[in-house]
Amino acid sequence: MTLVQPRPSAVERLAGGEPRRALLDELSKREIRRAVLTAVAVPGYQVPFASREMPVARGWGSGGLQITLAVIGSDDVLKVIDQGEDAGVNAANLRRLVADASGVATTTVAGEATVIQSRHRIPEEPMRADQLLVLQVPVPEPLRGVERDMTELRRMHAETDYARMWVSLYEDLVRNGVITQTPGYPCLVGGRYVMATTPIPRWDIPKLHRSEHLSLFGAGREKRIYAVPPHTDVEPLTFDDVPFEVEQPDGACCHRCGSGSPASAVSSFLVELPSTGGAGRWVCSDTDWCARRTEQTSRYGTAAAGGPVREHEEVGR
């Protein structure tokens, strides 16, 4: 006796196959793309948009997630990083979520990706014109620290009235001798709007200045999208006689790939590994970049992105 597959009813045929779990409908995506286009047209200006509920808590990447879902197409390759890491819980979950909803391929290699969603970092490997950076922003308003009234904030942006932002830098210098603000360092975009670079360290800010790639910033909780188009000036606010400095601990180098050591031609943003002994060990924050350098070193004796690295017992020979 053969099992006869029951023919699908007319209603079932009309309904089509098993639907893909979509997080945003096409109209919502279009609305977000419209906000993105406005943001690209007015670099650094915070465009309000109708932020949707996402299956992640607001403030945990819902803004970046909505942009990614709205702009990603079936031939895109997605990379998601959190604190420079592809393997972080948040990064892994967001990557799976987007892949599940849109069916795109994923990667951890920065050079292979067409869309990179990130919190905290811009990959060390220089991005290309065909790549898109999506940053998850918790606090999009650079002036929030000096003014809380929204109407007044809008007026200040509209009139380029950034005196109080400068005063906060002045006060910081007077009180601490250095400008202490590190993530979210305020930058002037295209000579017009002051923008918060909330998630990224100062180290990454020069990568936004006249970059090859388009950067989109999404704040889901605050319902704002802003952008830095390619080849746009991004100047960190600083006084003429107080140079802008990136954070780099003295004498630290990555204990895996040797980046930042005197023998290494390259340096990268380093994070300290927690240790009980008190002797801090440093490691590249961008794990994908570091891993590939380490691999190249072990295979060819030279690292991928620079000159020879200092030999180290940790480098797996």
């Binding site: 009139e159 400068w166 005063v167 002045y170 210098l173 007077v174 006084f239 006689d241 107080v242």
Partner: protein
């Protein structure tokens, strides 16, 4: 020569109606509330001009409209009628009331400074004294930290604020010192016109006297055009050469300060002077 500040026919009416509300108000009727519409005629038909290096006083009791006039000039209020001209804006050819809100605010950076009675209105009390001055300087485009520091220190020296307090938050300062910091901030970009609204009211007598001396010295030294609003005759007498007396929103008498105090003509002025002189 165009006067540094020229005000003509300035009027401010709160509430409904317009120029029609003026009927039935003023000193002759002893009221500022319009009998027809209930609108408040806070000031009407106020005209004067102040030259560089000159100080004009406006005297009157509470509610006489003197502060309203000042707030209309500086842009905190929009006048209902009249024109305001500054020599430093298009050579006096432009009526400030025609300017947009943002252009009005821009004037406050380096052309038209105000010293309020309450330092909290003119200062950010959370910031340091130097930071308050720096706000004006950075608004005017100063971007050199060393330059801002030395300019702020110079202003502190001029306004007798101890230099070692320059980096302390203003909220830790006494009333007199706050007022000095407010002066330093107002003068940061050498504005040609300075408006002072009851600058020493609320200070105790000895501190007020010291602040007054300071203001007088600064006005003499900097050659700015100043308008001083006060209900206190000693302030007006010390700081100004000419004065207006206001009552119920109108100017009832104008003249040289000395003459006005020695020989007041209007009955209201006589009452005011009499009350002040005992």
């Amino acid at each position: 020569m165009t006067p540094a500040l020229q005000v003509e026919g300035l009027g401010k009416i709160y509430g409904p109606g317009g120029a029609a509300d003026v009927a039935g108000t003023g000193p002759d009727h002893g009221r500022v509330v319009s009998p027809s519409s209930g609108g408040v005629v806070a000031a009407w038909d106020v005209s004067f001009s102040v030259g560089a290096g000159e100080a004009l006083g406006i005297i009157g009791e509470s509610g006489s409209g003197k502060s309203t006039v000042l707030r209309c000039i500086c842009g905190d209020e929009t006048p209902t009628a009249g024109s305001i001209r500054l020599a430093c804006v298009d050579g006096g050819g432009r009526d400030l009331t025609e300017l947009g809100a943002s252009a009005r605010r821009a004037l406050r950076i380096d052309r038209l400074a105000v010293v309020y009675q309450d330092p909290a209105e003119g200062l950010d009390l959370r910031l340091s004294a130097g930071g308050n001055v720096a706000e004006r300087l950075t608004a005017a485009g100063w971007r050199n930290f060393g330059g801002i520091r030395s300019r702020a220190a110079e202003l502190m020296r001029r306004t007798d604020v101890p230099l070692d307090r320059m980096d302390d938050p203003v909220k830790e300062f006494s009333g007199g010192m706050r007022q000095r910091v407010q002066l330093a901030k107002a003068l940061a970009n050498n504005p040609p016109v300075v408006l002072l609204d009851e600058p020493t009211t609320g200070l105790d007598a000895s501190v007020a006297a010291a602040v007054l001396d300071l203001i007088r010295d600064l006005l003499d030294e900097l050659g700015v055009a100043a308008v001083v609003v006060s209900h206190d005759f000693s302030v007006i007498e010390l700081l100004t050469q000419r004065a207006l007396v206001m009552q119920h929103g109108r100017v009832v008498e104008a003249g040289l300060t000395d003459q006005l105090l020695e020989d007041p003509q209007h009955p209201y002025s006589q009452r005011l002077v009499g009350a002040a002189r005992g």
